[in-house]
Amino acid sequence: MRKLLFIVLAALSLKSAQVHAGSTQTGEPKFQPKEIAHFAKQVERYSAAKRAHVFIIARVGQPQDSLPKGVEFTHVALAVYSQITMANGEKKPGYAIHNLYQLHDDPAKSSLIIDYPTDFFWAVEELKAGIAIPTLAVQKQLLDAINDEVPKKVHNPRYSLIANPFNNQRQNCTEHTLNIINAALYKTTDMAQLKANTQAYFEAQSLSVSPFKLFLGSVFRDEIYKKDHKGAVNIATFTTIKNYLAKHNLLAHSAIITPDMLLNAQNSQEM
């Protein structure tokens, strides 16, 4: 029996190590650092050309063919046009990215971390960004909310990869982003009110993963929590947030940015 227990524990710890290696932002970059930095700067310039002061930004951290149907991006955050103070004291304009990141050593927990476009795209699977720029009026409210520390006020550090956006039992990066947007729009951080409004107006993405897989995931991985869902698992995604803004006339512009897309845009401008 002791031998059996050892095998099971060894197998589980091996699995745990694999999960962490596959889910960290710290992994080896899959592209040349200069390519990543160049792409990140291009995303900044594209957004700056649209005069976006704050917008929703998304990246792809997993192979596209391994993602469930309807899920195109794996991490969502807010990019905020900022005055950045460098280590040498110089102040420069650029985008800072306000993230909710899952903790590596405690996967059922998260923290709020600001990083920058090159950090954001460092370990991506594809050089691809989703951006959704709200209308100027919404951007102003989002900036007011950020300055009022609303991101902290609507943060629930209990993390689930498949958090239900309609309640506050667990939270992931996408739900947190949606919370900030709604808190800014409704000028409240009252979670019951925010969730009631989300229930009334937000259309989540139904997750097409087999119930058996989800059950096993919830058993073997701390960050997969299913009890906050009743019946089907519905999650917030970059696309559902973009659609939510568009449906309510709160979206100014959206795009999927890739190197090819940028090249085509450049060529069409030159023609």
Binding site: S23, T26, A48, V71, T74, Q83, P117
Partner: protein, 115 residues
């Protein structure tokens, strides 16, 4: 005895099976921790040294970022009464792109690293 062995085999099989089918497909890439921050040093090196280095741009480590808020047609640094030269062209009615620095900016190490 045979029953017990069968039970053990079944448990191991189920464990290994579960490991294979647990939903890796919805795995997050959101993780962040001390090692993430510790890796900022190697990220800086990768961006500045050798063939992978960015050419023609300085790599800078950020200390703090203050949102530039849109206020009365002008964008100002939050909590600041002054408008810098760079900010003075940020009228919300303007069509000009917002200025973006040439530097490649990366986050610095966590506060704990300074202890």
């Amino acid at each position: 005895m045979f029953k017990q062995k069968l039970k053990h085999t079944f448990t191991i099989s189920m464990t290994l099976f579960a490991m294979q089918v647990a939903p890796q497909s919805i795995a997050s890439d959101n993780a962040s921790n001390a090692s993430h921050h510790a890796s900022q040093g190697s990220k800086y090196s990768a961006l500045t040294i050798g063939d992978s280095a960015v050419a023609g741009a300085q790599v800078s480590t950020a200390v703090v970022a203050v949102p530039l808020v849109i206020s009365g047609g002008l964008t100002m640094s939050a909590g600041s009464a002054s408008v810098s030269a760079a900010e003075s062209i940020m009228d919300s009615a303007s069509n000009q792109p917002l200025p973006i620095c040439e530097e490649v900016v990366i986050a610095g190490p966590p506060p704990s690293a300074s202890l």
